[in-house]
């Protein structure tokens, strides 16, 4: 297992390098000019010298190497300095700065992180809590009306895009019924019960939209995995020796069926960040997804590069976790 973990960790290095290279290349090949913002009165030869001083005259592999150093060495050290207060080296390292706000990109991301984690994380948890019982019951009572309804709802859940369910909920619950606010207020502070209730009310809609979408997929996996296990010999053995039905279902079968589902859940976490881009946009939650959209609309390249790369790192990281979890949870799986 340790051996496998080390091997997997080593494999993530080329993957991350490949992804960073693609992100770098995309922005490098793109037909835009970093001096485009400067006044038109600057003569072409001066403009060329500005470009040279920005390092654009260097060959592409040198620029990529410098970019990597900035991303993998300088920025993490900067963050460490901020968190621990210690100083590493001389301390006057470059920072990746947003072109639009002129502040370090990392600060912007740290600002936006809590909102995304609250809304998106909560919706994922809610989705899982809904999905697992639905999957268990649908599998146990296969082809019953409950199973049919569950199949239909989950089909609807992943066919209807979140930008429609979200808008529909706003129309029904904010415009017509006026129950919930349509815009998520991130400046809201929870100080007493009343403000807590407001926080709950404004979170209900974004969380339920994302939770429906996640529950639709997870409940399908749960059902399939339960069905696989229910027909196994050990279930018959357990019943034959007189184990009570709830114990068979909830201890024997559920535990074994959760193994693939847990890995699916781990694999889905980064996708939630991606899907949350749209939901955040619908409900005006100013989280990471919305930051990305703002960056893209304003052509804020350092910001966009950093965010895209962070999303990529999340995907690679959770793929790794899913693989390792599978090995830990299921003793039959052995990576030689």
């Amino acid at each position: 297992m340790l051996n496998y973990t080390i091997r997997r960790l080593l494999f993530t290095i080329p993957v991350l390098l490949f992804i960073s290279f693609i992100v770098f290349l995309l922005l490098d090949l793109a037909p835009n000019d970093p001096t485009g913002n400067l006044p038109l009165t600057i003569p072409p030869d001066v403009r060329e010298r500005i470009r040279q001083s920005l390092g654009l005259g260097e060959p592409i592999h040198v620029r990529y190497f410098l970019w990597c150093v900035q991303f993998f060495v300088n920025e993490p050290l900067n963050i460490l300095e901020q968190w621990t207060g210690l100083q590493f080296g001389s301390g006057d390292r470059l920072r990746v700065q947003s072109w639009a706000t002129r502040s370090p990109v990392v600060d912007l991301i740290v600002e936006r992180m809590p909102q995304t984690l609250w809304v998106v994380g909560m919706s994922y948890v809610v989705g899982i809590i809904i999905a697992i019982p639905i999957g268990v019951i649908s599998a146990y009572r296969q082809y019953s009306w409950f199973d049919q309804a569950g199949t239909f709802v989950s089909m609807v859940g992943f066919s209807v895009p979140t930008f429609f369910t979200g808008v529909l909920m706003i129309v029904v619950f904010s415009v017509h019924l006026d129950w919930f606010p349509s815009i998520y207020d991130t400046t809201h502070r929870v100080t007493d019960w009343q403000s807590f209730w407001f926080q709950v009310r404004q979170m209900i809609m974004p969380v339920s939209v994302l939770a429906l979408f996640n529950a639709a997929q997870i409940s399908r996996f749960m059902r399939a995995s339960m069905l696989d296990n229910l027909s196994q010999d050990y279930v018959r053995t357990a019943r034959a020796k007189g184990v009570r039905e709830p114990v068979v279902l909830l201890v024997h079968v559920l535990r074994n069926s959760l193994i693939p589902v847990v890995t699916v859940i781990a694999l889905g976490i980064p996708q939630v960040f991606g899907g949350a881009i749209i939901t955040e946009q619908v409900f005006k939650v100013n989280g990471l997804g919305q930051l990305l959209i703002i960056g893209i609309q304003g052509a804020d390249i350092p910001l966009v590069q950093t965010l895209t790369f962070i999303f990529a790192v999340l995907i690679v990281f959770f793929n790794l976790i899913a693989d390792l979890l599978y090995g830990i949870l299921d003793p039959r799986i052995r990576y030689e």
């Binding site: 922005l27 793109a30 835009n32 089909m155 066919s159 930008f163 429609f164 959209i293």
Partner: protein
């Protein structure tokens, strides 16, 4: 002629081919049959609709702005008095065209990679690593970035509509082939060990013909299933891009664009949001049901049960 043969005659006169069986099984799946009917209806409506519903989607009639459903405008009008029904029809044409074209592109790519990786052992490792790498890319952010960066160049080269169409189809296509490639590779690997492939190999069939005559027809069913999933995925992705304001220009309606534009008038004219959203959702739902039915119908273990 023996009695046995005559007893079988009524059946053989029916000419029951494999595809007839598949169709039979497909139609017993109620959701799939309904989905098929709905999808065909949508396709007919968006292709023939603009010829029958002659109102132009871009005609501005400011006196009739923000109307609810009336006889003249069955889905109401937008803030400039343009007919929503005509816009939904025109938008559907673009959305479906993007969906089908992007699906074809990703299918061709996925099948190519899958067959080559499964058939030629030499390419298996590199191609599957490439697939893994693509699966690790954050797709939606990357799509947004690509469109942001290359929008203007393609617009200048091919005109505003064609340029964006090419760009969107291309980026959706090259970011959604991985699942198809994995499934096809798995099936090709299994097929390669079968006797008929061995027999064909042993009489010296060249690889190209082996793939075209023996391998491809047998991996058709997973390809068809992933085709339907591909259409659904492409329609959703295109709408999502348009919804985020990074798709087609606003005078060129697509379903996602219409939804995006109407969210600004949600309090004034809430019904307007429903139509394009409903069109996207029902189309994707029907396509997903078709895929579900196809999977059952093409699986010989389930068929005939």
């Amino acid at each position: 002629m023996s009695e046995q043969a005559t007893a079988h005659r009524p059946r053989s006169s029916h000419a029951r081919s494999q595809w007839f069986d598949v169709l039979d099984q497909f139609l017993t799946h109620r959701g799939a049959a309904l989905g098929m009917i709905f999808f065909v209806l949508v396709c007919v409506a968006v292709t023939l609709g603009p010829a029958l519903w002659t109102l132009d989607p871009n005609t501005i009639d400011i006196r009739a702005k923000n109307q609810g459903p009336t006889l003249l405008h069955p889905m109401g009008t937008d803030q400039l008095g343009r007919d929503t029904f005509a816009q939904v029809l025109a938008g559907g044409r673009v959305s479906l065209a993007v969906g089908v074209t992007a699906m074809l592109l990703s299918l061709v790519l996925g099948t190519l990679v899958g067959v080559i990786a499964g058939f030629f052992r030499r390419f298996d490792g590199p191609l599957m690593r490439l697939t893994d790498l693509f699966l690790a890319l954050p797709l939606l952010p990357l799509l947004l970035v690509i469109i942001m960066l290359f929008r203007d160049t393609l617009r200048a080269a091919f005109g505003p509509e064609t340029g964006i169409f090419i760009l969107i189809v291309f980026v959706i296509g090259i970011t959604s082939w991985m699942q198809t490639a994995r499934i096809v590779r798995g099936d090709v690997l299994a097929l390669k060990e079968r006797e008929f492939v061995l027999a064909a190999m042993s009489i010296g069939t060249p690889s190209r013909r082996l793939i075209l005559r023996h391998i491809l027809p047998n991996v058709l069913s997973p390809i068809m299933v992933s085709a339907t999933l591909g259409i659904a995925n492409a329609i959703i992705t295109e709408s999502a891009l348009s919804f985020l304001g990074l798709g087609f220009p606003s005078d060129f309606p697509t379903w996602g664009r219409l939804l995006f534009d109407s969210t600004n008038f949600m309090t004034l004219n809430p019904e307007r949001v429903i139509w394009p959203g409903l069109a996207i959702s029902l189309t994707v739902l029907s396509v997903n049901y078709i895929g579900d039915g196809l999977r059952d119908a093409l699986d010989p273990r389930i068929r005939g049960r």
